[in-house]
């Protein structure tokens, strides 16, 4: 539900501070001078028409953008007083603290459900002694444990779409990040699976900072505390979700949320 009495985003402790961020694909300037503060332990939704740079923005927050050939970033993204684009920052270590969930559920097809949960640890060379406890606890956290506890050794891809997506979220939680980036995490799911995932987000934001790209404005209105509206590579407005949907400052935002374009 939309909370009506949240302060403006800049008045809360910020988890991520973005300063004059520009992103390029070769010569194409995809994000223009983005400045924003993402509040700690809240769910911030990112909305905007297709191609406006939502995914690009998200991928700048865990340095996945630079993996595209020819892609480039300028500006600062500060977490815990550290600019993640500083030369000394190892993007591999950063990504263990900033998890990411993709549009299409992508559990590792060659791994079992259990191995998928532990994948982030295995990949980083960690073999925890209490692996069973971690698997159980993490799967309970995403409300998947009762459904899969008897088939932990089956392939992750054998689950339904919604279950796979929850498995992917579990896989991220197991690495204990502080921020979780979600790129249209429900767009491949049916409404019931979507509702369950949304419930999960409502719980997770007590502990994690969530940043979710969504195509679905009802979803943004339902689950997010703050909403950022992007348009053609610009951040038009970032405010409480309630304000964005009922009383935005910029007329472009109003046109978009009332469905006049996009």
């Amino acid at each position: 539900m939309m909370q009506s009495n949240l302060p403006a985003p800049s008045q809360l402790p910020a988890r991520i501070v973005v300063e004059d961020l520009n992103a390029y694909f070769g010569g194409a300037h995809a994000l223009h001078h983005i400045t924003a503060q993402i509040p700690d332990k809240k769910l911030t939704a990112i909305i905007g028409p297709s191609g406006c740079g939502k995914s690009t923005f998200l991928r700048c927050l865990n340095r996945m953008h630079e993996l595209v050939a020819g892609a480039r970033v300028s500006g600062r993204v500060v977490m815990d007083d550290i600019d993640i684009y500083d030369k000394r920052v190892d993007p591999v270590r950063l990504r263990r603290r900033v998890g990411m969930v993709f549009q299409k559920p992508n559990p590792f097809p060659t791994m079992s459900i259990r191995e998928n949960v532990l994948a982030g640890l295995t990949l980083n060379g960690i073999r925890p002694k209490d692996a069973d406890a971690i698997v159980q606890h993490t799967l309970e956290r995403v409300a998947l444990w009762t459904e899969v506890k008897d088939k932990l050794h089956n392939s992750g891809t054998s689950l339904s779409g919604g279950q796979q997506q929850r498995l992917c979220i579990a896989r991220v939680l197991a690495v204990q990040p502080s921020v979780i980036l979600l790129d249209e995490p429900c767009s491949a799911l049916d409404p019931i699976a979507t509702a369950r995932i949304e419930e999960l987000f409502a719980e997770l934001k007590n502990e994690y900072t969530l940043v979710m790209v969504t195509h679905n404005m009802q979803q943004a209105a339902r689950v997010s505390d703050y909403t950022a509206f992007f348009y053609m590579g610009d951040l038009v407005e970032l405010d409480t979700t309630q304000r964005i949907f009922t009383n935005p400052k910029v007329s472009k935002t109003e046109e978009y949320v009332t469905g006049r374009f996009g």
Binding site: R95, R96, M100, F102, N106, P109, T110, A119
Partner: protein, 345 residues
């Protein structure tokens, strides 16, 4: 039609037969045969039958030509180590040994290099270099084997004789496989030239297999904080495993059947020796070398039986490798099957 025949008591839908009769005048314009399609269908079908029939015909021909040798020597032909056309003693074991050992050794040398090359080309190499490097590695596969043999004789053999073999003997000479005189030519030379010849095959197919792994798999690992190597090791290679095994099988096939380059460097002496420095022989080489000059019927027949055996060895090694591949797939299928059972319960 079926329902009408099985249950005549039910109300019949208009039967197609009557439709065709009644509709002949009215619907004639809609009836017709696509002759082009029919001809295409039957010609391609004929080719498919030819492909099936050809190996069988070859097998029958080889068996017929080998009859004399088979009846004369029986199963002993497989284990006999003497090959002396003058005294009419014919045993195939040295050739089987030479072919199998040189091919497996070539795989041992070629697979790590090919995989390294494939991983580099598909995952690590800067985009700009990918195309030219890939093109060159494919070009290597197009060089005729006699050219490889030529290069082997003039460049590789002297290098093996003067540098590699003395070094191996010095450091690993306590192993029986690195003992004996450094001649250059021999089993090691054959394995090395085969390895060089099959690297492009295995590498270029493996690269295509790795490229076919969707980027979403890589991103899943990278987003979890995997380094490039961890991404390859845990997300890319497991998915490409069976395809890479397929590439290795193709490389093995090329090694097993390779004749010219091998015969130019292997030494062509039918002896079984533990040392890789010693000359050896191969099934394909002995046929190519002796068939033209073979005068005695039993000699020709023995060579024919070796051809038959080469057929058999290739078949066995292929089936073995395929069994390995399907083992991987079977396990995956088992997982999905058990899951389906459980979910349907």
């Amino acid at each position: 039609m079926k329902t009408a025949a099985n249950a005549p008591s039910t109300v019949d839908p208009p039967a197609p037969a009557s439709f065709a009769e009644k509709g002949r005048d009215k619907w004639g314009a809609l009836q017709g045969v696509h002759w082009g399609d029919k001809i295409f269908h039957y010609t391609t079908g004929t080719f498919a039958i030819l492909v099936l029939a050809l190996p069988l015909l070859m097998m029958v021909m080889l068996i017929a030509a080998s009859r004399l040798s088979i009846t004369n020597f029986g199963p002993a032909f497989l284990v006999d180590t003497q090959w002396d056309p003058v005294r009419e003693e014919f045993g195939a074991l040295p050739f089987i040994f030479g072919t199998v050992v040189s091919s497996l050794l070539a795989l041992l040398l070629a697979v790590p290099v090919s995989l390294g090359l494939a991983i580099f080309l598909s995952e690590l190499c800067p985009k700009k270099l990918r195309k030219p490097l890939g093109f060159f590695s494919e070009l290597l596969a197009a060089i005729p084997s006699v050219v490889y043999g030529f290069w082997g004789i003039f460049v590789m053999l002297p290098w093996l004789r003067d540098s590699v073999q003395p070094a191996l003997a010095r450091w690993f000479g306590f192993l029986p496989i690195f003992q004996g005189q450094a001649l250059g030519f021999g089993m090691l030379a054959a394995a090395m030239i085969l390895a060089i010849m099959i690297v492009p095959t295995i590498a270029s197919i493996s690269r295509d297999v790795l490229r076919a792994v969707p980027d979403t798999e890589r991103e899943a690992a990278i987003a979890l904080g995997a380094t490039p190597w961890e991404t390859i090791r845990h997300a890319v290679l497991p998915m490409a495993k069976s395809g890479i095994l397929g590439a290795v099988i193709l490389g093995l096939n090329r090694a097993l059947g390779e004749t010219m380059a091998v015969t130019m460097v292997i030494g062509n002496r039918p002896k079984i020796s533990a040392s890789l420095f010693d000359p050896s022989h191969s099934m394909a080489s002995v046929i190519a070398n002796e068939l033209i000059e073979a005068e005695k019927d039993i000699h020709v027949s023995s060579l024919s039986q070796i051809a038959l055996l080469l057929f058999g060895v290739a078949l066995v090694m292929n089936l073995g490798a395929r069994w390995l591949v399907s083992g991987v797939k079977r396990r995956a299928a088992k997982i999905t099957a058990s899951v389906k059972l459980e979910t349907s319960k």
